[in-house]
Symmetry: C5
């Protein structure tokens, strides 16, 4: 799973029907020092995250496990919110 | 899922039979500032997107969910059209 | 799926038995201007492609759909030949 | 699978229910000379690894095999601890 | 699949039980000119490869096809040995 910051929402009216009613968030994957790295992704939210929160997301087929697994096309799902940014890297 | 701009079509006569009658589009994945990033991909379209539109696509096995899942070899499917480019990054 | 140029063959005598009789090709993934990008890959061929042709390939589990799906270990399969290089990017 | 060093823990109270009771570790993927490469990842632990240890992890759907496979959303699971760092590259 | 050179072994006593008795090799993925590219990976061997040989490996769920597919967590399996390095790129 990858650490990311929620940086925005995405509104889509025309979309695959299995995605009706799902909340989309834009997430930015992060480096070890919590700086941005790489391009932002469109994620489905399974835990109630909001803009500004530090989360971790799962990719691939496993990303559809929190939903109706056989019909939801998602490869990026937020599966947890990190409690405290200070706890993330305790070895540094 | 990843944000992308549709930048072209692709015509293929000789192809896997499970792809007969499908529409192929060329998509360019985008950065946070909606500038191009990385190489363009060949995508299947499941929502009726056209050249110039801002879309998001799904990769991996999940990309075949909108189609006959067990026979369509696709790893890049457009699953939604973004309503407004201004709504994408509301945190910036 | 990704655009690529077929740039060579690969001969392998010692290989997984599910790959017996399959044709291997070396493909080079391409940029928007059809210049090479990234490292070449070993692909299985499902459409009869040859050296020099512009093709598109599929990765992941979906890549095994054109074959005996539950026993062929492949993550890169050529699934189509592009008709004309001029048709690829019509927006430029 | 990829070589990585365990560099920290991650605490998450709000998470997908299939992840209840699982231990999260932050891992840093490594180069051939065991220097860090790329961004750190959030991994599930299946072998009892701790901070500082050299491990290897598996990604994709296979990463959920050590757990209840059909309900655990993970794409990064630690599946082994390397015995000795000296044994890793014996060709150099 | 990707071309790689076997560059070492890996010994792991503490590992997922589905990996008991499997041989691990360290492989280095290669460029078109057979120079190293990217970080080395830990691979399972299904064909009897050894250090120094030119091989190709498969990633993702397909990588577990040569083994007990539903219980072996692997995302990198060597599935063939290349006969001759001279035959790889015949277009150059």
């Amino acid at each position: 799973m990858q650490l990311a910051r929620v940086i925005g929402n995405l509104v889509s009216t025309v979309k695959n029907e299995a995605l009706e009613g799902r909340k989309f968030l834009i997430v930015q994957t992060l480096n070890a020092d919590l700086s941005p790295k790489g391009k932002p992704l469109v994620a489905l939210d399974s835990v109630g995250a909001g803009v500004g929160e530090l989360v971790f997301w799962c990719r691939g087929k496993e990303a559809s496990f929190p939903f109706k697994r056989d019909s939801t096309p998602t490869d990026c799902t937020i599966i947890g919110i990190v409690d405290s940014e200070k706890h993330v890297f305790n070895g540094e």
